[in-house]
C-alpha cells in the first residue's frame, strides 16, 4: 500500500509538471482526476459541515439523554435557520423554468448582506486604521528617532499621500497634481517590485518540497 501510494504520488506529480512543457494526455488525465475528486470532496465537506452540523442540527438539535434515558434540557432549536433553508429552496427554483425568477430573491439577499456588511468593515479596517497608523511624529516621540527612522517615516507619509493622489479619479494628472501622482506611481511600483521579490523564496520552497518528494520519498535518491 505504502509503495503504491508513493508511485501514485509520483505519477500525479509528474503529470502536473508535464503541463509546463505543453498540454498532453497525461496532464489531462491528472486534471480530470483532480477536478472530479476535489469537487466531490467539497460536496461532502459542505454537506456535513454546513448542511448537517449548522442547519440540520441547528433546527433539530440532538436530544440529550441522561444515563436513565430521560431527556435532559438540551440545546434549543434555532428556528431562524429555517429562513436560510427557505432561501436555499428558493434558489433551487431555478430548475423550474416558470418560477425560476424567484431565485433572484436569495441572490438579492446575499448581495445586500455582503454589500452592507463589508461597507463598514472595509471602511474601518482599510481606511480608518491606515490613516491612524500614518499619523505619527516624523522625528519620533520626544525627538529620539535616528536618521534612519526619520527618513523612513517621511518616506511612508509622502508615499501614502502621493499614492492617494494617483488614485484620484476626478482630476486630470497634470501640473503639480500630475507630478504628485507620478511620485505616487513610483511608490506603487516599488511596492509591487519588492513584494514580488520577497515572495520568490516562499514559492521556491514549495518546489523544494515537491523535488524532495520526487527524488527522496519516491525514488530514494537523497541520502
Amino acid at each position: 500500500m505504502e509503495h503504491f501510494a508513493l508511485w501514485l504520488g509520483g505519477f500525479l506529480t509528474l503529470g502536473i509538471f508535464s503541463f509546463l512543457y505543453k498540454d498532453n494526455p497525461w496532464y489531462k488525465l491528472t486534471e480530470a482526476i483532480y477536478v472530479g475528486i476535489s469537487a466531490g470532496y467539497f460536496v461532502v465537506v459542505y454537506f456535513w459541515d454546513n448542511f448537517y452540523s449548522k442547519f440540520w442540527v441547528g433546527v433539530f438539535p440532538h436530544k440529550r439523554l441522561n444515563e436513565a434515558g430521560e431527556l435532559i434540557a438540551g440545546v434549543e432549536p434555532d428556528y431562524w435557520l429555517i429562513v436560510g433553508g427557505v432561501l436555499g429552496l428558493l434558489m433551487l427554483m431555478r430548475l423550474l423554468p416558470k418560477v425560476g425568477w424567484i431565485s433572484r430573491w436569495p441572490l438579492a439577499f446575499i448581495v445586500g448582506a455582503t454589500a452592507g456588511l463589508w461597507l463598514i468593515n472595509y471602511f474601518a479596517s482599510f481606511v480608518m486604521v491606515q490613516i491612524q497608523n500614518t499619523v505619527t511624529p516624523l522625528f519620533g516621540m520626544d525627538y529620539s528617532a535616528s536618521l534612519y527612522v526619520i527618513v523612513g517615516n517621511i518616506v511612508v507619509a509622502v508615499g501614502t499621500f502621493t499614492g492617494l493622489v494617483y488614485f484620484f479619479f476626478s482630476k486630470e494628472h497634470k501640473g503639480a497634481f500630475g507630478s504628485a501622482a507620478r511620485v505616487g506611481i513610483f511608490f506603487l511600483m516599488i511596492t509591487f517590485g519588492a513584494s514580488f521579490g520577497y515572495t520568490v523564496m516562499s514559492r521556491m520552497s514549495l518546489l523544494i518540497g515537491r523535488i524532495d518528494f520526487l527524488f527522496g520519498d519516491w525514488l530514494g535518491m537523497i541520502k
Binding site: 475528486i37 472595509y122 505616487g184 517590485g193
Partner: protein
C-alpha cells in the same frame, strides 16, 4: 414584482447590515447572515454539482473531443460522494466521520488530493521565474523602478548581497544590500500598501452603496439599466 422585490430586498438587508454595526442589539446579525449564506450555498451546490455532472455526461453521450477524461472526472466525483455521503469504505460505518484515518475518503484525500494540490501550488516556482524574466524590463521609468526594487530584494535574499556590499562600514550598514532590502520592505513598500488599502476601502463604500441603492443592478438580471 419580478423587478422590484429583489431591489427592495437588497436595499433593506443592506441598510440593516450597515446599521447593525452601530446598534448593539443587532450585533448577532452578522453571524446569522453568514449562517444563512452557508445554508444557501449548500442548496446552490445542487446546481453546481448538477452542472458538473450534466456537462460531462453530455460530453460522453455526444462523444465530444476528450470524452474519455469525462469518465475519469465523473468517476472521481461519484467515488468521493459514495465514500463521503454513503460512507462506503468507512471502517466506522455510517455513524462515523469519513475524515478519520483509514476511511476511503481520507485515504483518497491523503494519497491523491494532497500530492495534486501541492504540485499545482509548486508550479508557482516556475511561473515566478518566467514572469520576472518577461516583466522586469526597463521599458520606461515606472518599469525601471519595479525592476530595481525587485532586483535589490532578490539580491538581498542571497549570500551575494552581503558579499558584494559587506565592505561598507558598520555605520553605513544601511547601504548593505540586505539592509537596503529591509528598508524597502519597511518604508516605501508600506506606504504603497497603505495607499492601496485606503483606496480599496473607499472603493468598497462607493460600490456597495451603488448596489444597495439599486443603481447597479445588472447582477439581478435587470435589463432596464
Amino acid at each position: 414584482m419580478k423587478r422590484q422585490v429583489p431591489l427592495i430586498i437588497t436595499f433593506l438587508i443592506g441598510m440593516i447590515m450597515i446599521f447593525s454595526f452601530f446598534i448593539p442589539p443587532l450585533e448577532g446579525l452578522e453571524q446569522t447572515c453568514s449562517l444563512f449564506f452557508d445554508v444557501i450555498a449548500v442548496f446552490a451546490f445542487f446546481l453546481g454539482g448538477g452542472n458538473l455532472m450534466r456537462i460531462h455526461v453530455n460530453k460522453l453521450r455526444r462523444r465530444k473531443k476528450d470524452w474519455g477524461f469525462s469518465i475519469v472526472t465523473l468517476g472521481g466525483f461519484i467515488i468521493m460522494l459514495a465514500a463521503g455521503l454513503l460512507k462506503i469504505g468507512n471502517p466506522g460505518g455510517i455513524a462515523a466521520s469519513p475524515t478519520t484515518e483509514g476511511a476511503l475518503l481520507q485515504e483518497i484525500f491523503t494519497y491523491v488530493f494532497l500530492p495534486l494540490q501541492s504540485t499545482m501550488y509548486a508550479l508557482l516556482a516556475f511561473f515566478v521565474a518566467s514572469a520576472s524574466y518577461r516583466a522586469f524590463r526597463a521599458k520606461n521609468r515606472e518599469a525601471t523602478i519595479l525592476l530595481i526594487a525587485a532586483f535589490v530584494i532578490l539580491l538581498g535574499r542571497t549570500p551575494f548581497g552581503m558579499m558584494l556590499t559587506g565592505w561598507i562600514p558598520e555605520s553605513f550598514s544601511v547601504l548593505q544590500v540586505p539592509n537596503m532590502a529591509i528598508w524597502i520592505m519597511n518604508s516605501p513598500n508600506l506606504a504603497g500598501q497603505r495607499a492601496i488599502m485606503i483606496g480599496i476601502g473607499l472603493g468598497v463604500i462607493s460600490m456597495s452603496l451603488r448596489l444597495i441603492l439599486g443603481i447597479e443592478r445588472t447582477y439581478l438580471g435587470d435589463d432596464s439599466a
